[in-house]
């Protein structure tokens, strides 16, 4: 009857090791760009929370939409009030997986190209997303960077005719994160 106990301890140890493999940030930076001949719009969010679990490759992002800062206050108000509807859909989330997690060694400094696949939820609409990025391990911190494009229409965000020429149909998104080891 000793075997189950050993097994149980093994499982416990495994769960514990998993906790060690988590990297975390609350101050990640996501920016987006809308480029049209009439107007370039850029917004920055520097309060993005995210976790990567290196034992499984699972990756989670949580983005508070009201934290996007625009150069023009009215733009920010319209973004929240008319486009993203932040009161109804306060957060955007990404739940995904790093497909080639086995190639990343968090103990060794270096830059690792990664492939990420998952589900992106914006404005209450969930769509599958696939993107490439890099993870750079440096002094026990992990610098994550990625760029991808989302189509405004995919997320059921309506742009009125009057400003159709001012807002791009495809928005470029840049992700720039600095992860630190997660301590429980």
């Amino acid at each position: 009857m000793k075997q189950p106990l050993i097994l149980f301890l093994c499982f416990c140890a495994f769960s514990f090791a998993e906790a060690q493999g988590k990297y975390f940030t609350r101050t990640g930076h996501i920016s987006f760009y809308s480029k049209t001949p009439l107007e370039d719009i850029q917004a920055n969010n520097r309060q993005v929370a995210s976790v990567i679990d290196f034992s499984t490759g699972e990756m989670v992002f949580s983005v508070l939409m009201k934290s996007f800062e625009f150069p023009k206050a009215l733009m920010q108000e319209h973004f929240n009030e008319n486009y993203i509807e932040s009161d109804k859909y306060p957060k955007s989330t990404f739940k995904g997986k790093i497909l080639n997690i086995q190639t990343v060694d968090v103990q060794k400094n270096g830059s690792y190209p990664v492939e990420v696949e998952g589900e992106l939820t914006i404005h209450g609409v969930t769509k599958p997303v696939k993107s490439n990025g890099t993870l750079e391990v440096k002094e026990n911190k992990i610098y994550g960077k990625s760029q991808f494009t989302v189509a405004v229409a995919d997320y059921n965000i309506q742009i009125p005719k009057l400003v159709r020429d001012n807002i791009a149909k495809n928005i470029d998104i840049q992700v720039d994160m600095v992860y630190e080891p997660f301590k429980q």
Binding site: L7, S67, L74, E81, K88, K91, K95, L162
Partner: protein
């Protein structure tokens, strides 16, 4: 032995559920975390403009934003075909207002009615929050200077007799994304009134609201109730209904009102139009905002 397998199975199941639990906890942790950080989280867009119709709304300009406001009222609808139902006449106010901070706005304006200049300060004392503070409270003070030539130049005319003042507290709440209401106790002081029975100080309570029809349009209404007194006997309460259309940096407001003037000193104590008789003015406000904030392009 079978018991052992059962136990083993149970343990595997248990660990699997622990793992799943851990991942959910991870997401919960993130979500709670980023939500709790919303310390700047104020309710926004209670009204589309800084005016409901004639009166001030609970909105102030954002920091470093300049607004140019054109307010225009035609003549009375009941003035007949000869006056093209009022469209031949026009009263206008041109105004500029600027947000020193998100909660402090200053403004100036010039009305064609009685050739009046005005200046005002608007300060947001309390700001509504999605959780916590239930209302926004704004204090408003303005001075108006009538610059008409004195009717009797022979008389001993004082500059102070040109001045009138308005003090107002605006208590507003955005009840839902569609409905916003506000209450505004108002006092208008006029240094000079035509006769001795006229009140120098006039007290009134304003009620105003908006109901959004679509994301970019809303129905507005505004009513100023004069507290009983000589003024309430001689004049009408100001009642206005309007329609807001918002397009990017512009807000267009179209409305019908029984007040001709667009300053508190005109529409609170001196509204002489009667809705039932058709003394109704059609008018509009057009606002355009300019952001004077330098676009900071932080390096990516």
């Amino acid at each position: 032995m079978q018991q052992l397998y059962k136990l083993l199975f149970f343990l595997i199941f248990l660990t699997a559920s622990i793992q799943l639990q851990a991942q959910n906890d991870l997401l919960n942790l993130l979500e709670n975390d980023s939500l709790n950080k919303g310390q700047k989280d104020y309710t926004y867009a209670t009204f589309k403009s800084t005016r409901v119709i004639n009166g001030q709304s609970v909105e102030t300009q954002k920091a470093k934003v300049l607004q140019f406001l054109i307010s225009h009222r035609f003549g009375r609808l009941n003035s007949g075909a000869y006056n093209f139902f009022g469209l031949d006449d026009a009263t206008i106010r041109l105004g500029l207002e600027y947000g020193l901070t998100d909660v402090l706005t200053i403004g100036v304006g010039r009305s064609s009615l009685e050739k009046t200049y005005d200046g005002f300060v608007k300060y947001k004392v309390l700001r509504q929050r999605p959780s916590g503070m239930p209302v926004s409270v704004v204090l408003f003070a303005s001075t108006a200077i009538n610059t008409l030539e004195f009717s009797d130049a022979e008389r001993d005319n004082l500059f102070s007799s040109r001045l009138s003042y308005t003090y107002q507290a605006i208590i507003g709440r955005k009840f839902s994304d569609k409905l916003s209401l506000q209450l505004s106790p108002t006092m208008v002081h006029r240094n000079l009134v035509p006769t001795t029975v006229d009140q120098n100080d006039v007290y009134a309570v304003g009620v105003a609201g908006r109901y959004k029809l679509t994301k970019r349009t809303s129905l507005n209404a505004e009513y100023f109730y004069l507290l009983p007194g000589e003024t309430a006997n001689d004049y009408y309460n100001s009642l206005s209904v309007g329609f807001d259309i918002e397009t990017g940096g512009h807000v267009f407001q179209l409305h019908f009102t029984n007040s001709q003037g667009m300053l508190e000193k005109f529409f609170v104590p001196a509204t002489n139009g009667n809705w039932l008789k058709g003394d109704i003015y059609f008018g509009f406000n057009i606002s355009r905002v300019f952001s004077l904030k330098k676009e900071e392009k932080k390096p990516y």
